[in-house]
């Protein structure tokens, strides 16, 4: 009898121990893209354990629903993605295969960043002859710091809903981020004044939100239609139609093939400006702040000429 009660106490102790480990355990987060990993780590610090499904060298439109991603999503308590159909080619399948109720749409653990901001380029007509246009508009919302701050606010609210007991923690982290971010935004705006209304040739509509924020202009797109790779016939037409002397450069993301941009660059003498598209693109770009610093510095080096 004594042994039994001792065993009982040991087991109870173990059980309580396990429970407390669980309550101190971090929130497992599955981020679709590195920018959301960076953002949720700012707000959640040591309380979140984040994996990113993609890295800065991968085109987030074209990811395979790999077995490893299914396993990672199965373990997640929280899912943070861009949404607006950016991940339509792989996320629905991951959600189905992982069977994780916590991160299904309509659950608290399902957070689509672009749901919370006004999106640009929402098409008036849905016709595939216009290319692979997203019916929900341009999904690349993270490149506007104002929208990013709005998303951070919503994310903080959501995390507080998921873990009400840690409201103070998330609020403090958010306020610290907001103060720093607002002063960064002032600094970036000051710095980029000489760029205002300058024109650039782009490759895919990756930069629309950045342009919207900095009042830059898109002179032409290397893609004939969204999602259709550049071809020589289209580029030749573009070369003859476009007054490239107005442009300051050709923007490509670090994950894109720069061949088409170099082709045009050789014929127009416009510089090819390779910009980091998200966090992790190179050693200098390891934070969201670093991402905007790097983008702006790159644009200034070429745009002021």
């Amino acid at each position: 009898m004594r042994i039994n009660s001792k065993l009982y106490r040991v087991l109870l102790g173990l059980f309580i121990g396990l429970l407390s480990i669980k309550s101190h355990a971090a929130l497992n987060v599955f981020a679709c893209e590195p920018e959301w990993k960076a953002l949720i780590e700012i707000l959640g610090k040591e309380r979140v354990d984040v994996v990113s499904a993609t890295n800065a060298f991968q085109d987030p439109h074209y990811i395979e629903a790999r077995p490893s991603l299914i396993v990672k999503l199965r373990r997640a308590d929280f899912l943070i993605c861009t949404g607006a159909d950016l991940e339509i080619g792989w996320l629905p399948l991951l959600l189905k295969k992982s069977g994780n109720q916590k991160v299904l749409p309509s659950q608290l653990g399902h957070f689509m960043a672009s749901d919370f901001v006004k999106r640009l380029e929402v098409p008036h007509r849905h016709d595939r002859s216009d290319g692979d246009v997203h019916a929900a508009g341009n999904p690349h919302v993270h490149l506007d710091p104002q929208r990013l701050l709005l998303i951070a606010t919503e994310l903080k609210n959501r995390l507080t809903q998921v873990e009400p007991e840690h409201e103070r923690f998330y609020e403090d982290n958010y306020q610290a981020f907001k103060t720093r971010w607002l002063s960064n935004m002032d600094r970036w705006k000051q710095k980029t004044k000489p760029l205002m209304s300058k024109e650039f040739i782009v490759y895919h509509r990756n930069w629309s939100y950045l342009f919207d924020w900095l009042s830059l202009k898109e002179l032409a797109d290397l893609e004939p239609k969204p999602g259709v790779p550049p071809n020589s016939r289209y580029l030749t037409a573009l070369l003859s139609k476009t007054d490239s002397t107005q442009a300051k450069g050709i923007l490509v993301s670090n994950y894109q093939n720069p061949k088409a941009a170099h082709w045009l660059s050789e014929r127009t003498a416009l510089p090819v400006i390779t910009l980091p598209f998200t966090v992790g693109a190179n050693d200098d770009v390891q934070t969201l702040e670093g991402l905007f610093d790097a983008i702006i510095d790159q644009l200034l080096t070429n745009g002021e000429k």
Binding site: E64, P67, G99
Partner: protein
Amino acid sequence: MTSGFALAMAGASACANEFNPDISLVLDGTYKSQDTALQNSEKGFSLGHTELTIEAPVDDLFHGRLSAVLEDHEGETEINMEEAFLETTALPYGLHVKAGRFLSGIGYLNGRHTHEDDFSERPAVYRALLGSHYFDDGINASILMPTDVYWTISAEAFDGKQMSGQSHDESVGVYTLSTKVGGDFNTENSWQVGASYLHNRLTELENEEEEHEDEHDHGHDDHAGHSHDVEYQGKHLYMLDAVWKWAPNGNAKEEQLKLTAEYLLAKDPNQYATSDDFQQGWYFSSSYKFQPEWTVSARVGQVDLSEAHGDHFHQQKLDEANLALTWSRSHFSLIRMMYTHQSSDDFDNDGSALSLQYQMTLGAHGAHQF
């Protein structure tokens, strides 16, 4: 931050048309220079798998899908239901149940739709032993194991009518059991291996019926491509599959290499079979996307078959090699040229053929499996 307020948006209005089911139509057509053994598409111009699919979440627990295939058979259009199933979306413990008519999850290719393939026809071993892709009425229960490496186990029970091509008295004609393991080797390399077993209880039953309609087991090639029932059977079907994918930095948009191999062995074709009478085959395929729009694929394969003629068997053998070049303007369209070379023992129309195929997807385009 006053301007910021105008940038905010209520979350609910994100996708206005999510209440509509996803509808997709696949148009598929082929021109083929010659007939080939165990073929899916015939010489000349022909329509392939014209497939209409409707799918949507039913509620928070179920997802439904219907896939109807229109096929032309001797001037008449047939509508075949290939898929009509419900599946669960939110069961605990990694469980997943599917019921209705659906593609069996055995092997690597079988559970995939033919329009995801890199070739115009399935490997010869699939055409012979599985009718290109085996689907049937039944139920599937699978579990995603709580392990660090991807591991699924899945069991199925089917009516078996689509396997035998005949009605029968058994309540469950076919059972399957399969497992898959997969993961990333590193950022650039991913892999998956699988093993499956299919138990066919209808091999003896069909043989009894065949004795009454003897013409049925001769001249199989004549109606290949129209009936989905399996031509070469086995009571026990064992399958092994492996796939390896590589992309620089894991970015499959610009460049990707895919290697796939499968081995199938079907034993005990019927009650007269000795241990020498079995079906077996394999294929090895590689596809290389060398530009966003272009993929070149090569495949070799072989089948050794025992064609049942009542109580004795005819041994047959077919070697096949394919070379395909696919141009894909967008996710939604592809045009493919494929060269097929066959050599065989005891097949009438083995030979070489050149085929030209188009495949166009209208409407929604579902995500592809790994």
